[in-house]
């Protein structure tokens, strides 16, 4: 068996004095798509940000593509192909959709562009008609699509999505699911933090369930469904 694309073990993370993540272990193989489930405040965002060293203080082992990320800056982690699409999207309002998406590539220069802008328009058909529109003139759903496309165009090897369909209309959620299916066909690996079970089930094959900063379950969707108490105990509001 080859080594996983992302291998996390014994990961602890803090915001100030509050200890958020407790000895988290998680792995993603090349080409795999993984769901990270949990309630609001369970530690999903903190975990994704800790992978990039983009917020919480953390300790523990994070290996990406066989290389330890300890001591590596956020920029260099992103350049290695670990891309985070944050929950609040962060589209730059003063530049166009195309320019926003192209930002992902500037840093990836010379890393071999596997995805062309044409591939992006094919994967995200809703975005092509918007390509010259300003980032500030997009709806929430359109912004989310741009944010994901920007990560893909940045030559992501592993794309981490933080609640990509939170607050979106059902029709946009369906579109996102189709776009992600297209990305998976291109061989992209994904780690998706979500609370929308129907969406994330359609996009992933394995599940990690986090509660109060502890991984309380990991396995495939059959195993997850086999234990109905998981949903009641860790996901019910």
């Amino acid at each position: 068996m080859t080594e996983p694309l992302l291998n996390v073990s014994g990961l602890d993370a803090w915001y100030g004095g509050s200890h958020i993540l407790h000895s988290v272990a998680l792995n993603v193989d090349e080409g795999e798509s993984i769901a990270l489930l949990g309630r609001n405040g369970a530690g999903k965002s903190t975990l994704l940000k800790a992978l990039l060293d983009a917020g919480p203080r953390s300790s523990g082992l994070i290996e990406f593509g066989g290389q330890s990320l300890t001591g590596m800056s956020t920029e260099n982690r992103a350049r290695a192909g670990l891309m985070l699409v944050p929950e609040d999207r962060r589209i730059y309002p003063d530049i166009t959709v195309t320019e926003n998406i192209a930002l992902g590539r500037i840093a990836a220069r010379g890393r071999g562009a596997s995805v062309s802008m044409e591939d992006i328009w094919q994967s995200f058909p809703l975005l092509e008609p918007l390509k010259d529109r300003g980032g500030g003139q997009l709806s929430g759903g359109q912004q989310q699509l741009v944010a994901v496309a920007r990560g893909v165009f940045g030559c992501a090897r592993l794309l981490c999505l933080d609640e990509p369909v939170e607050g979106l209309a059902p029709v946009v959620v369906d579109e996102m699911a189709r776009d992600i299916a297209r990305l998976r066909k291109m061989g992209l690996s994904l780690l998706i933090a979500e609370q929308n079970l129907a969406f994330v089930r359609a996009c992933t094959e394995r599940v990690f369930l986090i509660d109060s900063g502890v991984i309380v379950f990991s396995g495939n969707w059959q195993d997850f469904d086999a234990d109905p108490t998981l949903k009641d105990r860790y996901l019910a509001v």
């Binding site: 992103a78 730059y92 992902g104 940045g154």
Partner: protein, 297 residues
């Protein structure tokens, strides 16, 4: 009371562009790095003294082109000092509270003044403008010194160059991206540290250039930086912290007000500027142009 409108406008423009030359780098560094750089006036003086020393070494009376070249060299040298300051000081200020940045840059201002006193002493120095700029144009009743016209042109050129740099160049675009959201820029793999360094170098180079351009017609003493810094801070605040266009407009506005005030109350130079500053801040505390600026964890 009779007022010569031409003279007022011209005097205002002169004040405005001299102040803008100093304010440009100050507002740039604040807009991108969110550091209020008290040392800016110090590096402005370093630029002025460097230019003075170079012109003295060349034997005094230099041509206008030599004068400009000397100012550019001053800008380049002070820009290079910017590399040193960014690597040794500014980089350490990014993760600490703003108060540390105030103390650090104020200390750096003291270092600049001390260095100037050590190297060049406390004596007043003065230098004449180049021959070609040492006359005056007569426009109707208005006597316009050519050196003042030169400074006004320099202010406009620097402003246009900065606007073009920010709007049209790839680096300028990245500077704007980082100013708007540095956290996301890092997540996209952009080299934010390098973009900050470029910003600091440009800001310092502008301080040095301003010193070199304004050196003639000034009594050069180690206190000079403070005078310009105070005016430049006012322009930066009224313009909207971090906005180059705002600083330019605020300089024009405050220049006219200061000029009118000087005409009405010649015995109280500088007071109108302070009154106008207070008044404008009461009306628009956020400044004339405020940038969409957001901060995250």
């Amino acid at each position: 009371m009779m007022m010569d409108i031409g003279l007022v406008v011209f005097g205002g423009l002169s004040w405005a562009m001299a102040t803008f030359l100093v304010a440009a780098g100050l507002t740039l560094i604040f807009g991108i790095l969110h550091i209020l750089n008290f040392a800016h006036g110090g590096f402005f003086m370093v630029g002025a003294y460097l230019a003075w020393a170079m012109i003295e070494a060349l034997g005094g009376g230099v041509s206008i082109w030599t004068y400009i070249a000397v100012a550019l060299v001053s800008g380049a040298v002070v820009g290079a000092l910017g590399v040193l300051v960014d690597v040794t000081i500014f980089r350490r200020l990014r993760d600490v509270e703003d108060a540390y940045a105030l103390i650090a840059t104020y200390a750096l201002l003291m270092v600049c003044i001390g260095a100037i006193e050590l190297i060049w002493g406390l004596d007043f120095r003065a230098i004449m403008p180049p021959e070609a700029l040492n006359s005056a144009l007569f426009i109707g009743d208005l006597i316009a010194p050519t050196f003042t016209i030169f400074i006004i042109v320099c202010g406009v050129v620097v402003y246009v160059a900065l606007e073009v740099f920010m709007a049209r160049t790839e680096t300028g675009k990245l500077v704007r991206i980082v100013a708007h959201d540095a956290w996301m820029a890092r997540l996209l793999g952009l080299d934010v540290t390098r973009i900050y360094l470029i910003t600091v170098v440009i800001s310092f180079a502008l301080a040095g250039l301003a010193g070199g351009l304004l050196v003639a017609n000034q009594g050069l003493s180690p206190e000079l930086g403070g005078v310009f810094l105070l005016q430049a801070f006012g322009v930066v605040i009224v313009g909207g912290m971090g906005s180059i266009r705002g600083a330019f407009l605020a300089a024009l506005l405050l220049g006219q007000i200061e000029s009118i005030g000087g005409m009405l109350f010649p015995n109280y130079p500088g007071i109108f500027y302070l009154v106008a500053l207070a008044g404008l801040l009461l009306i628009r505390p956020q400044g004339l142009l405020t940038k969409g600026r957001t901060e995250w964890v």
